[in-house]
Amino acid sequence: MLEDWNKRGDLVRILVARNLKIRYKGSALGFFWSLLTPALTILMYAIFAHILKFNNGQPRYLEYLVGGIIIWGFTAGAMNDALFCIVGNANLVKKVYFPRLILPLTTALASGVNFLLTFVPLVLYLALDGGLDLSRGYWLVPAFVFQLALCTGICCFIGTANVFFRDAQHIVGVGQLAWFFLTPVFYYPEMQIAAFPAPDPLKFLVFLNPMTGVLAMYRRGLMGLELIPREWAAAVPASSVWLSGLVCLAALAAGLAALNAGNRKFGDVL
């Protein structure tokens, strides 16, 4: 599955560009939507947060929330695109041979490129609002790498599953919502750790949810927040975030295995 990768650079580039192009196909503003959508999202939350006063008395809750939503958007976007990364390219898969991994990989990469674009208005907003703290910005590197690995694994797995079982799209929709609530996107990690049904020495297992660790790393890098909330720092070691990293890599491995297993029958079924 991995042969000839030196020759595949152009193909990866072209397919990533195509995925991005199709996303904004026929729209007048094109790529600007990648910048505009998050900017408008931020504006929307700012307005309604002001009107409804839903900041729970927490300082900088709005920044926390918007950051979380934009970071979550990378994973959610990859999950949605994953469904059709193979089924939607049936004409290619049936007629030319190339390593099939290219399809989920470029889908995840396109989602990643789109995310990096949405990152721009987020950073601008945080800078304007005074919440930006890039002194530990190096955390952004493992955060992005692990999230990209996770998304590639998800794309392989969901893309393959959708070839064989068309129910996948419904399951993905519900699963994504459940995962969203299990992840500290709009609430704080201390609430997640407190609610996690395990004795204190085992509380670190909340990081089995890969997005828990990924979000903690992003928030550390962007806003300087602690990896582990202060009140849990004694019970949960900071190194637990690497557990999430490991789960991301495991998801990648599982996705590759699923793709490899399904690969033999793509031509038969599509």
Binding site: D4, K7, R8, D10, L11, R13, I14, L15, R18, I22, K25, N89, N91, L92, V93, K94, K95, V96, Y97, F98, F164, F165, R166, D167, A168, I171, N263, R264, K265, G267, D268, V269, L270
Partner: protein, 408 residues
């Protein structure tokens, strides 16, 4: 094939079998789980059955066969878009393919974007593709449409661009499925020129077509697929002849018991091989397990017919040439009369026949040959195998003596 083994192999198909599970496509999870729980056996369809084939570098090989014989499946397996159920395929060199009339275009992308995409799939650098680009577009004759999404293309335009790009990426091996069937006369001629050029530059071409005249002209060898099996491989004329005689025979089998002469006074009810071990009667075709197969002819006569004659004829399936014919009268085996149901056995010594397939016809007529009651045309196929090698159609009894002493 052993005498050619020093040549470079371009495509090696090794005992490839492909089975499709008819229930796999677009299943719901519920159906999949139910099948598993109920242990329902999926309905399987064997598209290719133990096919082995070697194509040498620089060769042009045609694939012929009826619809559903497995031609496209074989090409897809060589192109690696399908994986064989068992067996393996090896290709040496870059492979470009035109399967089911398309190179694999994305309908939403423009012709230009699709050409660049195809090039990158073939592992060609974008800079090199840009150099070839004008030539590709010119060959397809699509200059004014190249920046339109291919979803607006007519089927002819689609095929033209597909063929153009598949050839211009300059592969070592080109696989083409029925491209000659589409496109106008001008494009077909340019396709042929292009393929000639391709072959002359020492490249390998594997071609599916129903155009037997063309394929005979351009192919070095032809593979004939029948019901997923390789039914013939070799000389273009011989193999296409066999393919044609097979399809003719299949047709005549359907309408074979047309009656002529005196209507329905007597007719054959069956013609069959008698299995020497089980005594079972096989009415379609048979491998010849013995050198003296027995045929059983059954008839029904509405009234008493005095001294009828039963005749037979054996034709070579490839050339259609009559190999041998005879009847009960010539053999001196007089049938006094027939009335109602009856049967007769005919044993033929086939040990002198060449390896091949032979078609049998039978007739029932009067002693004076003036009344023909029934004729079964091309009704049975006999397959002769396992012969000591000899040249020609029949092995005649020979004996040698000598060497003779020098004459003085």
């Amino acid at each position: 094939m052993s005498e050619k083994d020093d040549r470079t192999v371009a495509i090696e198909v090794d005992h490839v079998t492909k089975r499709f599970r008819l229930s796999d496509a677009g299943r719901s999870l519920k159906a999949a789980v139910l099948d598993r729980v109920m242990r329902r056996r999926a309905h399987e369809f064997t598209a290719l059955d133990d096919v082995s084939l070697r194509v040498y570098k620089g060769e042009t090989v045609g694939i012929v066969g009826a619809n559903g014989a497995g031609k496209s499946t074989l090409l897809s397996i060589i192109a690696r878009t399908l994986t064989p159920t068992s067996g393996s395929v090896r290709t040496h060199g870059t492979v470009s393919s035109l399967l089911e009339l398309g190179a694999g275009f994305h309908p939403d992308l423009t012709g230009r974007e699709n050409v660049m995409l195809y090039g990158s799939i073939m592992g060609i650098k974008a800079s090199e593709m840009r150099r070839k680009f004008d030539e590709i577009v010119a060959f397809a004759g699509l200059e004014s449409f190249i920046d339109q999404p291919v979803r607006f293309y007519s089927s002819g335009m689609y095929v033209r661009l597909g063929f153009s790009v598949a050839v211009q990426v300059n592969p070592d091996i080109l696989l083409v499925d029925e491209v000659l069937a589409v496109g106008d006369a001008d494009f077909q001629r340019r396709c042929m020129d292009k393929m000639d050029e391709f072959r002359n530059s020492g490249k390998t071409l594997l071609l599916i077509t129903h155009d037997l005249n063309t394929i005979r002209r351009i192919a070095n060898r032809i593979a004939y697929l029948s019901h997923g099996r390789l039914a013939g491989l070799g000389d273009p004329t011989l193999v296409t002849d066999r393919y044609m005689s097979d399809s003719v025979m299949k047709e005549s089998m359907v309408v074979d018991d047309h009656e002529w002469g005196e209507q329905s006074a007597a007719h054959f009810t069956s013609a069959a091989f008698v299995d020497p071990k089980t005594g079972e009667e096989k009415t379609k075709s048979a491998d010849c397990p013995t050198d003296d197969p027995v045929f059983r002819l059954r008839w029904h006569a509405d009234r008493r017919i005095e001294r009828p004659v039963v005749g037979f004829a054996i034709d070579d399936s490839i050339s259609g040439r009559r190999i041998f014919g005879g009847n009960t009268q010539i053999s001196g085996h007089e049938i006094p009369f027939i009335e109602g149901d009856g049967s007769i056995d005919l044993k033929i010594d086939t040990s002198t026949l060449q390896v091949g397939e032979y078609i049998f016809s039978f007739s029932l007529h009067s002693w004076d040959h003036k009344t023909n009651y029934h004729r079964l045309e091309h009704t049975l196929l006999l397959r002769v195998q396992n012969r000591k090698w000899f040249d020609g159609l029949v092995s005649l009894p020979v004996s040698w003596s000598g060497p003779n002493p020098p004459e003085t």
